[in-house]
Amino acid sequence: MTIIQATLEGAGANLDTGRFTAMLDTMWRIRAFEELAVRSLDEKLVLGAIHPSIGQEACAAGICCNMEREDLLLSTHRGHGHTLAKGADALAMMRELFGRDGGTCGGKGGSMHIADFDVGMLGANGVVAANITIAAGAAHALKLRGEKRVVVCIFGDGAINRGPFLEGLNWAKVFDLPVLFVCEDNNFSATTHTAAMTAGPGAAARAQSLGLPAQTIDGNDVVAVDAATRNALAALHAGEGPQFLHCKTYRMTGHTAVDAAAYRDPAEVTRWRERDPITRLGEALRLAGVSEARLEEARTKAYAEMEEVYATARDTAWPDVAGAYRDVQDCGDPQVRPYS
């Protein structure tokens, strides 16, 4: 992998304002979606745990804008942003969070199991690191079928301490598969600092030890994420085998929406808030000549859209109870029925 040094602050007047204004729109949509999902707890609309990605929007936007619709994406329990950026319908997603009819998965999965195969989103996952081996297999199938599509697998920093990380990366390298692994490092393994739980120099070094080209970048810099992803996907398309990105970002909320995250050092939170990816991108676009009105429109349009999504999802009916028995498996009757 060629090391790309593109950064927000370094771009200056050369910033591709068209591309990155669209990126700002995506990031605001994610921020608005997440904030409304969290707010919905007040009305008890979100039912189970949700894991907001507030503060991590640059990773979702910068990665997914480089993917074709038919490319495949696998995400984590903290996957709303990735799924939106891959093109899933926000209303269907919010309905899924609320467990309503018309949800992405018919209300059967909820936040941690959102998938939208129509846009190549093969699923969030409730088990840390479980998506890594599935991603390797999806890429394996693409290779067997001689397809040009590629796979991107995003996981958190906690995942690098689970066995499937080793097994999946090794597998992808041994079989030379078209998959980009992205460690979206938000510093926390649930409520514990990952640094305290991780031996050695970390994610990128582990990937490099298996022969994967790996790069560590500022995950709050969407220009850097965009450039590094574009470069890595080009390497996949050139048949150079699996690639690895380590994006350093920060989770601005607790592990779940109800976690106050009192275990964090306030100074650390302040430091990262000053590096908010949306604020930084807005500043760079302003310097590159994008109008205040357009920057403000990115924010207001996103919140207007998501307020409407929220209201519509809230007013949607529960799914038909018969759905509890559908799509279990073709063989056998899932009902325990009396013998007559």
């Binding site: 081996t133 599935i134 297999g137 063989c331 013998y339």
Partner: protein, 328 residues
């Protein structure tokens, strides 16, 4: 009809399905050299290393990769080497393969077969001998198959490969050399259909996998003592053929379920409970379960044998249930 071994029958099933459907492929450790028991021997020459894929010793990734590959337009056959090793991949099987179709709202299917050589094979000890089928029957989303004969291994494995949901396919290691007649040409055995191996009016013996053969031997011996046992090989444990079992017990009024697995929470408990719920008024004797004691399987033959459901144990249990019949 031709006579082939249980092992050859499994290989023939894989070969025929790979010839029929180019999306079928197999992955597992040492497959290029034929697999640990030789059940893939020669297939790499016909289908090449891409479709008979040698993998690292990475059970979690073998299973997880199969899930991803099944979601992406292929039909993987997973080889787990020993069923005991599948425990290294239980998240991938139970949390991922079994649930994906449901929790993603039916957007896709996970058509994969997980071959897990199972059961006691002389002196393989506690980590290479287990029969864990009841674990899998408990998991919504999984089909569970345990063939006992060459013909069934051929016909059920082919059906399993064609099934659109994940199938746990338990071949018994001790049966690999067992020979038997198999039909020429296409032979499919439907999933979920039990086989009445022999008919009888006094007692129903429900069984599967290698214990089928102990039950048949016991039934032959019982016949000489005036007890006619009906032997039913379930063949598929989920879905299991309730109708056939209940019809038989309705006729005989007596039931023994015999399996190699530990009796406690074994799948025999499900059958016994179902029969008790449905046919309590028809039973002439209490339902009996025969399974292993709740001990790990030992290495030394006399200790290992303590875990076996032998022909003698089945005969003794049957005679105890049928005393009035034998006396009459």
């Amino acid at each position: 009809m031709s006579v082939i071994s249980y092992l050859e029958a499994g290989k023939r099933a894989v070969r025929e399905e790979m010839q029929r459907d180019p999306t079928v492929w197999a992955l597992g450790e040492d497959l290029g050299r034929g697999g640990v028991f030789g059940q893939y021997k020669g297939l790499i020459d016909e289908f090449g290393p891409e479709r008979i894929a040698d993998t690292p010793i990475s059970e979690a990734c073998i299973m997880g990769a199969a899930v991803g590959a099944a979601m992406t337009g292929t039909r993987p056959i997973v080889e787990m080497r020993f069923s005991d090793f599948a425990l290294c991949a239980i998240d991938e099987l139970v949390n991922q393969a079994a649930k994906a179709r449901f929790m993603f709202g039916g957007q896709m299917r996970v058509p994969m077969v997980v071959r897990e050589p199972t059961g006691m094979w002389r002196s393989s000890a506690a980590q290479h001998s287990q029969s864990l089928e009841s674990w899998y029957t408990h998991i919504p989303g999984l089909v569970v198959v345990a063939p006992a004969t060459p013909a069934d291994n051929l016909g059920l494995l082919k059906s399993a490969i064609r099934n659109d949901d994940p199938v746990v396919y338990l071949e018994h290691k001790n049966l690999w050399p067992l020979e038997g007649e198999v039909p020429e040409g296409e032979h499919l055995v439907p999933l979920g259909e039990a086989q009445i191996v022999r008919t009888g009016r006094d007692l129903t013996l429900v069984t599967w996998s290698a214990t089928r053969h102990s039950c048949v031997a016991a039934a032959d011996a019982l016949e000489k003592q005036g007890i006619e046992a009906e032997v039913i090989d379930l063949r598929t444990l989920w879905p299991w053929d309730r109708d056939r079992v209940l019809a038989s017990v309705e006729k005989t009024g007596r039931l023994i379920v015999a399996h190699e697995a530990v009796a406690v929470s074994g799948f025999g408990a499900e059958i016994a409970a179902t029969v008790a719920e449905a046919l309590h008024h028809r039973l002439k004797a209490p339902v009996q379960r025969l399974g292993a004691p709740r001990i790990p399987i030992a290495y030394a033959p006399p200790l290992e044998d303590e875990a076996r459901v032998t022909e003698k144990k089945i005969i003794d249990a049957a005679k105890a249930l049928c005393l009035p019949v034998a006396a009459s």
